[in-house]
Amino acid sequence: MAYLTQPNYVKYACSCGLLKPITKMYFCRHCLKLRCGYCVCHEVDSHYCSNCLENLPSAEARLKKYRCANCYDCPHCFHTLSIRATSVTRNSEDGSKTASKLYYLACFFCRWTSRDVGIPDQASATGRWPERENENSETIASLIEYFKVLALKERIDKEKIFHTPRRNFSHFSKLGMTAALVRKRSGLPSLPLGRDADLTSLPTIVPSVASETVEPLPAEMFTTAPDLTKVTTLSQRFSQPDIQPELTSEMWPIHKHLFIKRSQRCRECEHNVYKPEYNPISIRFKIQLAAFYHIPEITLLSIGELKAGVPSEIVVRLCNPTQHLTSVDFRPLPSAMEEDLLWERQVQLCEERERKDSQRTSLTPGSLNTSLGSSLTLPASLTRQLTLYEPPRRVRLDVSSSVQLPSCGIVLPPRDDAAEYDDSAEKHNFQDDPEVVVWRKSNKAAVKFSITPDKTLASNEEVKCGFVLGYGYVNTMAALEGHKEPQRVELQVKVLLSLGTVVSDE
């Protein structure tokens, strides 16, 4: 797992045009494209507390302002607070002594305790700790109420203007979703529906009044040296926006933020590429289409001395992670002109398909996007008939060397976990060109080729080379969906290698 700590020497071009290491990418098995964190839809599956692992439904989480009711963070260093017990002996009225336990919150990192700020010890460990009342809570609540009604009013006004003639055919209803459902899915609070709500009168709010007079600074400000240990830092103040304590004695335990489990969906075909199990205790996944399970992995093994204009030999290791035999080949990167042509053709193709689709459903993906906002994702079952075609993006590969790639393809056998332990490893009868394949072992092969750093490179400038890796992929999804035999497809991915810096001639 060296690549977890290494800088990213080998990068693959994602379908969105970004360059990423293979460990940060997904592979959609339905549209056979590489996906990265930037070109998938992120959805919140569940909210949970990272400390007590309580799982909260999203409505309840929203109600609790996405914070855990029982767990706290240290207001001083933001580490999780722990509950500590002290035993005290109390003198009862009849003179006998009874031992009881009292609990307080303590930070094991910076040693802050709830006693520091005078929060009384609690008799039960699980009990609620005293909450501080926010003096502005009423104002905030009335403002929220006001703007909720205002937003609803404005939206209904808007609908009246634009959609009155065909209100029943709004985009939402076509997708089988009501406005309320859309609100719910996008995480907005539900509103009293439509025409029944009283919209003629907005709730009254008291506007803030600016005042001319500013309280003068206390005299101590000028006479005594500031004690920095008693003043909070900015990050400590921002962590409690409702109180914003200026003195450390006013700090209060912070309710712990909830964490989320999220699933990620391919933007084009709406299938999940990554879905964790709901249970916060589980670290397993229902779906995890990580790219390194599906496309050949490239690792740099050795790099010759890099001198500007002088050919040098590099060895890379190719690894086939799939259960199927695959073959890989290397092609040079397309020139800028070729790429432009290719790109234009793909954009045309994409538009054509879009047009065909929109004729069929008389709804263009574009309007779907604008009306629902790009952050909103629809459940696949509702939109199966509707595919979003993304225009392809151009990939910027800044290479600073030319590559003499091996002309022949290389066959990689399927992954066999048992082979690792089998010393009498079977001899493959691959007709390898010894000039190309340095060695091979089960599903891996080391491949040699030579690169020439550009003549113009000064010393210490980075040498990068790139190529197009073609690989065979067996699409088992087609078989699962009941079509026919697993399909074999030829796919391509652009790869950029960072080889290091040029050494000077001396």
């Binding site: 990192f109 910076c110 240990t229």
Partner: protein, 178 residues
């Protein structure tokens, strides 16, 4: 000049390194591979201290100075020196916790109830305020209202367990050690 004085109830493992004139108070536990090095003058360690593995307590000789019997580094009682900390302090009071892998530079006077957080590096010579707490990578300082509790249970446990698995340095009377 190398006089070692160890109170009878103290637990000092033979694998620890005590150099120079060092006096160890009663109930103090010194783990294997801890070093207490008295270069500039004697080190007097008080009672109920825990000095864990790989701790270095130095009474460092400055350039041009010589051993001075009257230049004493006094370490008070109930201090905990956690694994791997390096302490060059000029004085140490009572009830301090020097956490793991922290560093206390020369000329720093540790008073009472101070906590030097894990990995904190203190290098500016100064006298620390009582109950100072340093924590985090930026050594942020706060003042605790109380000193940390004494590690009585841990001390009892260690002085029971350590002799079962380690040979102890036992010096009844002050004696000459080479």
């Amino acid at each position: 000049m190398n006089k070692l004085k160890i109170a009878s109830s103290a637990v000092v493992c033979v694998e620890s390194k005590l150099k120079g004139t060092v006096s160890v108070g009663s109930m103090t536990v010194i783990h294997p591979k801890a070093s207490v090095i008295a270069e500039a003058g004697p080190i007097i360690i008080g009672e109920n201290n825990i000095i864990e593995e790989q701790v270095v307590i130095m009474h460092r000789l400055k350039d041009g100075e010589e051993w001075d019997e009257s230049r004493v580094l006094k370490i008070g009682s109930n201090n905990v020196f956690e694994v791997g900390c390096v302490v060059n302090a000029s004085a140490i009071g009572d009830h301090n916790v020097i956490e793991a892998k922290s560093y206390v530079g020369e000329g720093i006077e540790i008073t009472n109830g101070c906590i030097i957080g894990a990995g904190c590096q203190l290098t500016v010579p100064e006298k620390l305020q009582d109950n100072s707490v340093f924590s985090g990578s930026s050594c942020s300082l706060s003042i605790a209202p109380d000193r940390p509790p004494a590690q009585t249970l841990q001390l009892e446990f260690l002085s029971k367990v350590l002799p079962n698995y380690h040979h102890l340095k036992k010096v009844k009377k002050p004696e000459q050690v080479n």
